[in-house]
């Protein structure tokens, strides 16, 4: 089975994130960069599925030069090869542009199953799986907490507001995972050494055959007009319970008219 995992490099959530004043895009140089947390679960699921059913895991990432570090980390977990879509003209792409570019590359490299995280920690839009399924004309299996594959039949547990749905489809398909699905492995020392030697193909827009009008800030269908850091929360009142903590809490709720 030919599995492609879409992995995004994101700023470390532990460090402060800001938008760049010049063009209102995320200032990616200002923070440490990591694999988007939930994408580690996507990679893990890809590895487990190929361990069970055979095949290869390719890591596909669209992002700046430094995303290569995260691709290498994914390879050290056990993925077989990487494809890095990297081009200055991609900077500032919105959801439509990103999905168009990634769909184009997926069409070129081919797949039985594409696996994504359900949501990135920076954009938090959680819509790329739906967009890719629509563009590629394959089943959308998003928000999966469980996946089973039998031949070309895929069954997932789709997490929902009210509980869950069991959803069936036939490969090829686009899958997105939630963190309940597995526990990602850590790269072993051997894996890290092997990861350094695995092939990573860098593609420019031209290499991938992506039309430049569709991507980047200029091609975006949405734009940021202005932004501002939200005012910091006012420091609150903290009391230590000395037998009347519950009463003091009630006092606070009454003062704020909640009771």
């Amino acid at each position: 089975m030919n599995i492609v995992v879409c992995m995004k490099q994101v700023p470390d959530t532990g460090t402060e994130r800001t938008l760049r004043a010049s063009d209102s895009t995320l200032d990616r140089d200002a923070a440490d960069a990591l694999i988007n947390e939930i994408d580690e679960y996507a990679i893990e699921e890809g590895l487990r599925l190929t361990e069970a059913h055979g095949g290869e895991v390719t890591i596909l990432s669209m992002g700046p030069q430094r995303a290569i570090e995260s691709i290498r980390k994914a390879l050290s977990m056990g993925a077989d090869k990487g494809v890095h879509l990297v081009d200055d003209a991609l900077a500032g792409s919105d959801l439509l542009g990103t999905s168009a570019a990634i769909a184009q590359v997926l069409g070129r490299i081919g797949f039985d199953l594409v696996i994504l995280g359900c949501e990135s920690t920076d954009a938090r839009t959680g819509v790329l799986a739906a967009m890719l399924a629509e563009r590629l004309g394959v089943p959308q299996l998003s928000y999966a907490a469980k996946v089973e594959i039998d031949g070309t039949a895929v069954t997932i547990r789709r997490q929902a507001d009210y509980g869950y749905d069991t959803v069936e489809a036939t490969l090829p398909a686009v899958l997105s995972v939630v963190e309940k699905i597995n526990e990602p492995r850590y790269p072993s020392f051997k894996g890290i050494m092997a990861g350094k030697k695995k092939p990573v193909e860098a593609l420019s827009l031209a290499d991938a055959g992506i039309e430049p009008e569709l991507v980047g800030l200029a091609g975006a269908a949405t734009e940021v007009l202005s932004f501002a850091r939200r005012p910091a929360r006012q420091a609150g009142t903290i009391v230590t319970d000395e037998g009347d903590g519950g009463s003091q809490a009630a006092e606070f709720l009454a003062a704020r008219k909640f009771i």
């Binding site: 959530t13 994130r17 938008l19 209102s24 919105d94 959801l95 439509l96 999905s99 949501e119 920690t121 938090r124 839009t125 959680g126 819509v127 739906a130 967009m131 629509e134 563009r135 004309g137 394959v138 089943p139 959308q140 299996l141 998003s142 789709r158 997490q159 929902a160 507001d161 509980g163 869950y164 749905d165 069991t166 959803v167 069936e168 489809a169 309940k180 975006a220 269908a221 949405t222 734009e223 940021v224 007009l225 202005s226 932004f227 501002a228 939200r230 929360r233 609150g236 903290i238 009391v239 230590t240 319970d241 009347d244 903590g245 519950g246 809490a249 606070f252 709720l253 704020r256 909640f258």
Partner: protein, 317 residues
């Protein structure tokens, strides 16, 4: 005045609160036209009229429930083609956003997600990075498709005619690729729904066990609140997953959020940071959740919470 298409979120015949919020927002920019999928439009007509719906496009048919997302997007694309709306509004739920996403691909129109309010001319206010940055943005090509976060807009009643227009629509085979073979509804309680509640009381690992979650429920009930949980709690199986608050759970924005025995990991904060008032009970003064607290008690939750419940009962009583 142009129409604003609104995709209704509903549970059977019951209109979800977020649909009324979308109607309230839409009235500012055009004539709200609700798109209703599946049965129940007739029964819902009253509630939709109360919040100013001009029309209800009612597309009955089992496909909308039987296949994941795609049929709804196809229907919206068709209605948008026929009626040239000024905007399409969807709820900022997982499903609503995905419908919006597929519609955006079909039409090439811009999509904005996680919108919490509107300025003039359909400019949108968003919060980014789990509530750290406010952004004002707009769609600059095509008709704006906007996913609005539940509980961000206060629903206001305003009568409308809510004329039902039945729509007969044949869903294509292409939209029937991901089939729902089983639907398991786990949320069955008299409490308000998590994303709609004006008060949320959440329990974390500090609660210690599934049985002890009864203490959180008791506090929630005394406040008329919804119950939430951290991932530590849902992972341990102490409470069902659909009550998880955070990055991979629900995003809530209630008037009051009470965090009990929760440390305040960044992934949890991402789901509750924009709550108006935050109260914390935790025995560790160094827990990062205290940074968000308007009022915090450093203490043992098994002492503080029962006393709080008792005090609330006394004051009510």
């Amino acid at each position: 005045m142009a129409e604003i298409l609104i995709l209704a979120e509903h549970a059977g015949e019951t209109v979800k609160k977020v649909t009324c919020e979308l109607l309230t927002a839409a009235r500012r920019f055009g004539e709200p036209a609700v798109v209703w999928t599946g049965p129940g439009a007739q029964a819902a007509q009253g509630s939709l009229a109360e919040f100013g719906a001009e029309k209800i496009y009612a597309a009955d048919g089992p496909e909308f429930d039987d296949y994941v997302v795609a049929p709804k997007a196809e229907l919206l694309a068709e209605l948008a083609k026929q009626h040239s709306p000024a905007a399409v509004l969807v709820a900022g739920t997982a499903e609503g956003r995905e419908v919006g996403a597929r519609l955006a691909v079909k039409t090439g129109w811009g999509l904005l997600t996680d919108v919490i309010g509107f300025g003039d001319e359909l400019t949108a206010e968003q919060v980014n990075f789990g509530g750290a940055i406010n952004v004002r943005s707009r769609v600059r090509s095509g008709t704006p498709i906007i996913a609005v976060r539940p509980n961000a807009i206060t629903p206001e009643a305003a009568a409308g005619p809510a004329v039902i227009e039945p729509v007969s629509f044949a869903v294509s085979d292409a939209a029937k690729q991901a089939r729902v073979v089983e639907r398991v509804v786990q949320e069955r309680s008299a409490r308000p729904e998590l994303t709609e509640a004006s008060i949320v009381v959440s329990g974390g690992r500090g609660v210690g066990s599934g049985e002890n979650m009864a203490l959180i429920e008791k506090l929630a009930d005394s406040l008329g609140a919804a119950v939430g949980a951290s991932r530590a709690v849902t992972d341990a199986g102490w409470y069902p997953h659909q009550f998880q608050v955070g990055q991979t759970g629900k995003t809530v924005s209630p008037q009051l959020y009470v965090a009990v025995g929760i440390s305040g990991a960044i992934q949890h904060r991402a789901g509750m940071q924009t709550s108006k008032t935050i109260m914390v009970v935790n025995k560790d003064r160094e827990a990062p959740i205290f940074e968000l607290a308007d009022f915090g008690v450093v203490g043992d939750l098994f002492k503080v919470v029962p006393q709080l419940v008792e005090e609330i009962a006394k004051r009510a009583g």
